[in-house]
């Protein structure tokens, strides 16, 4: 070993050829599911992000192929249902998916083909992580990557309930949850994600979050100069920002892009379930149990007296004789 892999700042560069030590791991976890008292890591990595510029995307699906190849997933061979999405949805075997929308723009009269690469957004406030009951099954690293640690996953599906973007999928094969890792294993070795590496038009780029925002702003200025007045970046504040961000020509209407949420946030039902409900519920159950134990120890038991037995016998005798 000649040292630790560098923190990657691009997906374009070729990988280092010398053997290097992984530079992303358990020591960089800042949050983990069902582990509220996690100690802060002793170092902080630079936040990374993947930028998806939908205005440059040609819908070739090279990113999907690269994703399946790198992650060794095997999506089922599907059937043509008359749409371009293939496979029809994200799955435990397909972590990213091109979604195609045909849009008749009422303002310009133009027909637009909107193509969005769907997948995990790597939220700063991940709903999946908040919902997960299994300690350490979902982690967030200091560089912003949200990763599923499959050996800790119990397959309950709470991450699906928590996710504002409907991304995680449980594998029916091993009952564990899967999604885009932002190629955390590649990032650990100084490389950018496979999808970004494979993108022929550089619609997908990877780097530090600051550099990606800067790049997005350049792209937005260019789009605005070409008539896309509503071009903008999609880095939704409702989930604390994301580490996968979009450049959209219609940033005022994200939902045009195959239902990308306009204002995603961890649902109020999820916050209530994981917040007040848990505290109040556990306190109420604890008080009920403690009250019963205390009354049992210090209260007077309700005992049947000898007198009761005599009365009972008299009553039974009366009833039986009255009949005879």
């Amino acid at each position: 070993m000649t040292g630790r892999a560098p923190e990657p700042v691009t997906a374009a560069a070729n990988p280092p050829v010398e053997p290097l030590e992984a530079n992303l791991g358990a020591r960089d976890v800042v949050r983990a599911s069902a582990m509220p008292n996690l100690p802060a890591p002793d170092r902080s990595l630079t936040e990374v992000a993947k930028l998806i510029d939908v205005s440059k995307c040609i819908g070739c699906k090279a990113c999907q192929s690269a994703c399946a190849e790198w992650n060794e997933t095997h999506p089922e061979i599907g059937v043509n249902t008359g749409v371009y999405e293939n496979p029809p949805d994200l799955s435990a075997e397909m972590f990213t998916l091109m979604r195609f929308t045909e849009y008749d723009n009422p303002d310009t009269g133009n027909f637009e083909w909107l193509i969005r690469k769907d997948g995990c957004m790597h939220c700063a406030e991940p709903g999946c992580l908040a919902a997960c009951p299994a300690p350490g099954a979902i982690v967030k690293y200091s560089n912003g990557i949200v990763d599923f640690i499959h050996e800790n996953c119990i397959g309950c599906g709470y991450c699906i309930i928590g996710c504002p973007f409907d991304v995680p999928r449980i594998s029916p094969r091993d009952n564990r949850s899967y999604k885009c890792t932002l190629c955390s294993d590649r990032v650990a070795m100084g490389q950018g994600p496979a999808c970004a590496k494979s993108c022929p038009t550089q619609a997908i780029v990877f780097g530090t979050k600051a550099a990606m925002i800067e790049h997005a702003n350049d792209r937005i200025a260019d789009l605005k100069s070409r008539g896309y007045a509503n071009a903008g970046v999609y880095d939704p504040p409702g989930v604390g920002g994301t580490h996968v961000i979009y450049v959209l020509h219609h940033a005022d209407q994200p939902s045009l892009y195959a239902g990308l949420p306009d204002d995603p946030q961890v649902a109020a039902t999820v916050s209530a379930w994981k917040g007040a409900n848990k505290t109040i519920g556990l306190a109420a159950m604890g008080l009920a149990a403690a009250g019963a134990v205390l009354h049992g120890l210090f209260g007077r038991a309700n005992r049947v007296s000898a007198e009761d037995e005599v009365e009972a016998q008299a009553l039974v005798d009366r009833e039986r004789e009255g009949d005879a």
């Binding site: 649902a267 848990k278 049992g296 049947v304």
Partner: protein, 223 residues
């Protein structure tokens, strides 16, 4: 045969000296303990998913994956068991006017001023409350549980409905745990009750003290 108001078909005077009264058949008792065991196991596995520091409870079931797999199956066992029990016991658990009077004397119940309480049939209002609360909560837990049973029904309801279901499931579960504590404690505090569900009978004194109308009707029956 006279019409029964306060007792069930299988209730019998087993002995007259001292008096022993049959209260639950063997089938009912076995079913009760299946329900009790599944409730306890559901509570333990459910608490593991409910509170992070109780996740270790999954070790009792062979790990998180196994606990997650077993929990809904136990839920079905509980639901079927309770349905059978519901059909058997519902007739004697219909609220009556005596129950209203009994509840108004809550102070006298706790202070054991038995002479100030109305005489009762097979169940008092507290027992009827447990019966109906469990019935309602199990129904709610079954409905919401099926909605979030991912392995069996991955696409049954959309995600927002699943969020409501999981919230409702955990609220109902906490209420059921409290009803469970009430049920167990009432059975312990009221001495002489447990034998009804273990050996199937109670002493005459217990019946006279707590369920006099039931005792009178059972003693007077000739069927």
């Amino acid at each position: 045969m006279r019409r029964r108001h306060f007792s069930d078909r299988g209730d019998r005077i087993l002995d007259r000296n001292p008096v022993r009264v049959g209260r639950y058949r063997l089938f009912t008792r076995i079913n009760h303990w299946i329900i009790a065991a599944s409730t306890i196991l559901l509570l333990l596995s459910g608490l593991a998913f409910y509170w992070p520091s109780l996740f270790w409870l999954t070790a009792l079931f062979g790990g998180g994956q196994a606990a997650r797999w077993l929990h809904p199956i136990l839920g079905l066992v509980l639901a079927v068991g309770y349905l059978l029990m519901f059909v058997q016991l519902v007739a004697r658990n219909i609220p009556r006017h005596d129950d209203v009077v009994w509840v108004r004397h809550i102070r006298d119940i706790v202070d054991q001023n038995e002479d100030k309480l109305p005489t009762l049939g097979k169940y008092n209002a507290g027992q009827k409350f447990v019966f109906w609360a469990m019935a309602g909560l199990i129904l709610l837990l079954l409905g919401t549980g099926v909605m979030i049973w991912h392995q069996a029904f991955p696409d049954l309801v959309p995600v927002p409905a699943r969020r409501w279901a999981v919230l409702g499931h955990s609220v109902a579960a906490a209420l059921m745990a409290m009803t469970f504590v009430l049920h167990v404690y009432a059975g312990i505090w009221t001495r002489g009750t447990l034998s009804a569900m273990t050996r199937g009978w109670v002493t005459g004194g217990w019946a006279w003290r707590h369920h006099r109308k039931w005792l009178k009707e059972v003693a007077g029956r000739r069927d």
